[in-house]
Amino acid sequence: MFTSTAPTGSGTRPSLSNVFAIQRDQKCGAPLVLPVLHLIRLLPDLLRPSSHAFLQTGPRLLQEVLRRCLRGRNLGEGGDQEHGVRRTLRQVHQHHLLQRRRRYASVDIDPWRWASLQHTENRDLVARVIDCPNCAHCVDLYTPEFSDADSLKKARDEQYLTISEWIANYWQEVSRNNLEKLLLQEI
């Protein structure tokens, strides 16, 4: 059953793209020939029943092979999957240095929150996790209702205020620039 410690099993599910890649290109035999030592090291993990991860289904060994198999495949414009992951993260982290005026909102029950930004110290980059019962993925974009949780209402108010501030700052900047132009002309 599920343990309270971090799950040791793989959470990889056979996503559609993986399924496609396998069927389109039947040359997945090569990764089966894993180095023997490596396989021995993996054995205890591979033979564990699949119940270690909460949603995982399918024999674990097969999944592991599938994953390794797909790693070497060209999954898109940027080469293999591992490379793609690294490239995206590099972009995101590099961008954190340049960040300005972005607002992130995540929802505490949403499984996707772990692929988003949940905490920031930067005033120009606000991230909020909305803690509300029965909320959903992207709930802050939903049509506001009177019955919404207070935490959600508060998050929306905050979004509105932030955006209003951005807009106000923008127009101030515009008028300042216009003034500068005007003054330069006069001089």
């Binding site: 959470g11 289904t57 414009e77 049509t143 807009i167």
Partner: protein, 317 residues
């Protein structure tokens, strides 16, 4: 002397009541009516097929929607609502927060369909060949947005001149929205990124863990029932081909799914239920029931979802 005069002038100008600034806070908030949804007008935009091929400029038609009923071109912002990996229909009825924002700030809402989805197909019916699908990626999608904004600005469509733009999106478009602000800070003044999946995670265990944590809020029985149902389906599917076929054909179109595809569908029906706010409802139904009854509840819930998009067979035929 001249300097003092200039400084004084600057102070006066900055301190005066800027009508644009005031308009933001004076607008009363009225309840958003259905007219917002009805007011959406669909148009076509001539988009560049490959933004990174500088030798040619082939175009395709991309769909976009406009809601201008609240727009004050003098002071209002433009909200660019980004559509993602689905057939776009403008702002959906259940997701009108961007409309409320537009109403409060006298803004305009523009919605752009993602390339390769709905009717925004760069190569028409030939779009889904491997060769053409190389142009289906987030970088091209971001350039689509940038080119869209540039064109709207240069033609001054809808009375837009130097109005500020804000990008808005949720989930994958949320990530696009955040990335867009980074890549094109001169085109938007800020971005709203809801549940934005900006980080790439290989072997995403936290996802499963969160489904466990979320369903455990209703009590241990809930995640145990969901977990047990996965194992039960797994054992049915791998017991014999006949049993597998019998079980799968209880779902419309289900007999064409491979066992792995079906297991993905089954687990995902639970995920989607939790992810979209149905956790309490399903957990309540599971409370104080025996294992068979619980399985039946989860099966009935899974029947609410379509199997087609999990099936390589149905996606090809």
């Amino acid at each position: 002397m001249k300097l003092i005069f200039l400084l004084a002038l600057l102070l006066v100008v900055l301190a005066r009541d800027d009508p644009k600034y005031d308009a933001l806070y004076r607008t009363p908030t009225q309840p958003l009516t259905n007219s917002f949804i009805d007011a959406q007008e669909m148009h076509w935009f001539s988009q560049i097929v490959d933004h990174y091929d500088y030798r040619q400029e082939q175009r395709f038609n991309q769909r976009y929607w406009v809601v201008d009923e609240y727009f004050n071109p003098r002071s209002g912002p433009v909200y660019l609502y980004i559509c993602g990996e689905w057939i776009c229909s403008g702002v959906p009825e259940l997701r009108t927060w961007v409309g409320v924002l537009a109403q409060k700030t006298q803004g305009l809402v523009l919605v752009l369909e993602h390339r390769f989805y709905g009717d925004s197909l760069p190569f028409g019916k030939q779009s889904f060949t491997l060769e053409n699908m190389r142009l289906l990626n987030s970088e091209q999608a971001l350039r689509d947005l940038a080119f869209f904004i540039e064109e709207i600005k240069s033609t001054q469509a809808y009375g837009i001149t130097n109005n500020p733009w804000v990008s808005v999106g949720g989930s994958y478009p949320g990530a696009l929205s955040a990335w867009f602000r980074i890549k094109y800070p001169h085109l938007v003044i800020g971005s709203l990124a809801s549940s934005a999946v900006v980080l790439a995670v290989e072997d995403f265990k936290d996802f499963d863990e969160q489904i466990y944590l979320s369903s455990a809020r209703s009590g241990d029985f809930c995640w145990q029932a969901l977990n047990a149902s996965n194992h039960r389906v797994e054992s049915i599917l791998y017991s014999s081909p006949e049993a597998a076929l019998e079980f799968k054909s209880q779902f419309p179109g289900g007999m064409k799914l491979t066992n792995d595809e079906f297991l993905f569908f089954w687990a995902d029906s639970n995920v989607l239920t939790v992810q979209y706010g149905g956790r309490t409802a399903i957990c309540q139904q599971l409370a104080a029931k025996n294992e068979d009854e619980q399985f039946e509840v989860i099966k009935q819930n899974a029947l609410n979802f379509d199997v087609y998009e999990y099936s390589s067979y149905w996606l090809r035929n």
